[in-house]
Amino acid sequence: MNTQIRRLFFVLVVLFVSVIGMVTWWLWKAPDLEARRGNPNLIVKQLTIERGTIYAADGRTVLARNRAEKRKNLGHIFLRVYPQHELAAHPVGYSTIERSRTGLESSLNDYLTGSNANLGTLLDNALDKLKGATQKGNDVVTTLSARGQEVAMQQLSGKCGAAVALDPRTGRVLVLASTPTYDPNLVEGHFNQILKTRATCGNASPLLDRATQGLFVPGSTFKVITAAAALDTGKYTPSSRFDDPGYCIEYGKRVSNFADQSGPEVFGNVDFTEALEHSINAVFCNIGKALGAKTVLEYAERFGFYSEPPIELPSDEVAISGLYKRGRPYIPKDFNEVDPGRLAFGQERMLATPLQMALVAAGVANGGVVMEPTLVDRIVAPDGGLVQRSHAKEWKKAIEPKTAAELTAMMRAVVEGGTGTAAQISGVPVAGKTGTAETGVTGRNHTWFIAFAPADDPTVAVAVALSGQSGTGGTTAAPIAKAIMEALLQRNP
């Protein structure tokens, strides 16, 4: 029997070793499993860390802070409080036990928990652990203007839309507002209340950040890109002359200008500036046909279309702008598939986020250079030391400075005497462009306004997009853009 006993011993030892092997396998898979929904390891571990505070640009307005709570079995844990409620819900996001994290709370988690790996912090953390002290995270000062954010949220309330304001010189994001919004304090425990949010535009989706994820038909605001292409390629100048019969012929069919009660507008003989000022579709349609879809799309790319804007938000919260096909952005292999005339005035399955259109305005404002958008001003260690400060970085070189200057003059005309007069600010020159994308259903228009000011030395670039509107961009979005710019200009003299 002894032979069998020895063999049996061997078999059972192999079984035990395979259990150890299985445990090792799970260790190997740990990085993959750690981020799984429902895996409490990381989340709970980090609850015992005193997360850093998130501030608005003024360094005083607290957007997110901690509330310490004593829990049986865990000792002190830190739960998040958002004292400003809805004010900056989307960019700041939330950090909860039940629903994980979003926004900066997610993307800057390593900094906020102090687990950003460098030797100094690692050593500090190890010492803290030994001493039994609470581990502290770094504070984050955002670039968000509390005042600008407040005005934007006020202006947008009751509507479905978003507003983005940037400093065109640095890419600092001053306003990132989206409605319908939610109170991040309700995410933990009262999530149903958020889900019950109702809106005028159909699906309320309060958690959706329309400023960075919302895809709107850019409509006539896209004409800024077409105009940039027309001027930058040297094929047209601001004084190039056009004849507007009120329509343009596309594939043998008429595409009419924007129509009011009296039928499609007809402008007759106009120059390029007047064409932009009055947003004449027929003229842009013909420019588009002359330039070709390839060139127009190339300039869109130069302004940042087809790239994910490098803002410090989680990648899945930032959408890419461009032509869309089956829910994905695509660049046509054969440009003949794209109707260049309709593309030139921002139709033809073109979709853009408010952030992207703000970057377009900022690019023109900044002499043709689009800066990297940034939400973070600086990150400060618990002892007050500076961990990181963001510096202005160029993102895209879109157009020549000369083109930018010409385009600025044309966009000023829009506000001074064209479709965007509602955005006029007394004493401050404003350059802008309206957009009204008709969806064919009354009351379902996407309306836009993109602008920057002061036009001669821009410090603010803004994009406002609304859905479910029955008016035009000039009457619905321009006043909101104006209010936001006014608020920001007072702050940034």
Partner: protein, 432 residues
């Protein structure tokens, strides 16, 4: 050094280890636990020293490692249960006292374990009776889909744990008597005659039937494996293992088709093991396994530290249900890591080694088979549950010997160690 002094030295080592474990939990969780808990280690050591004294009195030649190894396992279990729920640890401590008392009683009153050979059929019948107890209406209690418990007033116990010991005794006696006939294979087709195989089949079939009746898959797998192991050791015939394995596969297949419970377990296992697919945590039981795997993978090489792992939510419930019973191995892996979990598994290998060594040295068939059966029962049980919670095999609820919370299990396992020590004492005395 004499065997007994070596045993005492080992026990003192275990006592120190226990003190370190309790101190670690105490430091990590001083907000919730009292300083009184630090005396637990002393109490624990005193208990095992008492057991040692009984061994010294009755079994001077017994193996010097089995009792300390049982001590290590008990200590790991108590520390872990204490960390999960201090009140539960107190109750487990009480069960350890009862287990040691049962151990002492066995050593003091059963002067010669070989007399068990005379009552093997009684053992077999009583075992089946015990297994059938939970199926009696009014007496049985169903917990987590399996009706394994018997409740009399406030006391709930698991008769299957004791049936396990009795069945091994029956098999050891029976196989010793019939091993020649069984291994030669009589009559036609080389099959043993019904006369020799019949009683075995009857007892065995009864046990399996009862197990399926009570939905205790872990128990079924355990008893069947131990049965096959003992049969193979006794007869050295692969054919039995093959036929047995085929029978088990057939039974499992049939069971798979009639019991939704089994189907769930298998599909959960397929969804969860190797990669924890998205489908895995959807079912309640898949959620258990997914949480178990998260805990194991989150433990890392050396664990989160005793008392510092992520086991209990801020709301106060454990992330893994049945944490201190079925899933205690996951809690151990979370808090003392791969190193700790592997060390724990190696402790079972030591149990296996010491137990099989006793069997190898024994000169009579009954002792050999009894030692092999009891040791295999401990080892296979440890394998089934550790492999289950790691996703290596479909999960079936069963205790991790000496470590999991569970009174019946602790007491039965102490009886197994007592019997092994008695066999060892006999073997070593003969050899000396």
């Amino acid at each position: 050094m004499t065997l007994r002094n070596r045993e005492l030295a080992n026990l003192i080592l275990v006592g120190l280890l226990t003190a370190a474990g309790f101190a670690a939990v105490f430091i990590a969780r001083r907000d919730e636990v009292s300083t009184g808990s630090l005396s637990y280690a002393a109490f624990f050591l005193a208990l095992f020293v008492a057991a040692h004294v009984v061994v010294r009195m009755t079994l001077p030649h017994a193996d010097a490692y089995l009792l300390p190894v049982a001590g290590v396992l008990t200590a790991v279990g108590l520390t872990m249960i204490y960390r999960i729920d201090p009140d539960l640890a107190l109750r487990q401590g009480l069960w350890v006292v009862i287990g040691v008392a049962a151990f002492a009683a066995l050593l003091l009153f059963l002067r010669d374990y070989r007399s068990l050979d005379n009552v093997k059929y009684v053992c077999g019948v009583v075992a089946i009776g015990l297994l059938a107890l939970p199926a009696i209406p009014g007496l049985g209690r169903t917990i987590n889909g399996a009706s394994l418990w018997v409740g009399v007033g406030p006391v709930v116990f698991q008769p299957g744990e004791f049936a396990k010991v009795l069945l091994v005794i029956f098999l050891a006696g029976y196989l010793r008597d019939n091993r020649e006939m069984l291994s030669m294979g009589a009559a036609r087709f080389g099959l043993p005659s019904l006369k020799h195989f019949g009683p075995l089949l009857v007892i065995w079939g009864g046990a399996m039937l009862v197990l399926f009746q009570t939905n205790d898959l872990g128990g079924g797998l355990l008893y069947f494996s131990v049965f096959l192991a003992m049969l193979w050791v006794a007869t050295a015939r692969w054919a039995y293992v093959a036929v047995g394995g085929a029978l088990f596969a057939l039974g499992a297949y049939a069971l798979y088709h009639v019991t939704p419970h089994v189907q769930d377990r298998v599909s959960i296992w397929l969804d969860c093991s190797w990669s924890v697919s998205k489908a895995c945590p959807v079912y309640d039981e898949g959620y258990q396994l997914a949480q178990s795997i998260y805990a194991i993978s989150g433990g890392g090489l050396f664990g989160q530290g005793l008392g510092e792992g992520v086991l209990i939510s801020p709301e106060g419930h454990t992330y893994i249900p049945f944490l201190s019973t079925d899933f205690i191995f996951a809690a151990i892996a979370q808090e003392i890591g791969l190193a700790g979990a592997a060390a724990l598994v190696l402790v079972y290998v030591v149990v296996l080694y010491r137990g099989f060594r006793i069997a190898l040295l024994a000169d009579d068939g009954f002792s050999k088979l009894l030692a092999v059966g009891l040791t295999s029962a401990l080892a296979i049980q440890a394998f089934i549950i550790t492999a289950g919670v790691t996703g290596l095999i479909p999960l079936t609820g069963i205790t991790l010997p000496f470590v999991s919370y569970g009174g019946s299990s602790v007491v039965a396992n102490f009886l197994i160690v007592g019997l092994l020590l008695q066999i060892s004492n006999h073997v070593n005395r003969e050899r000396a």
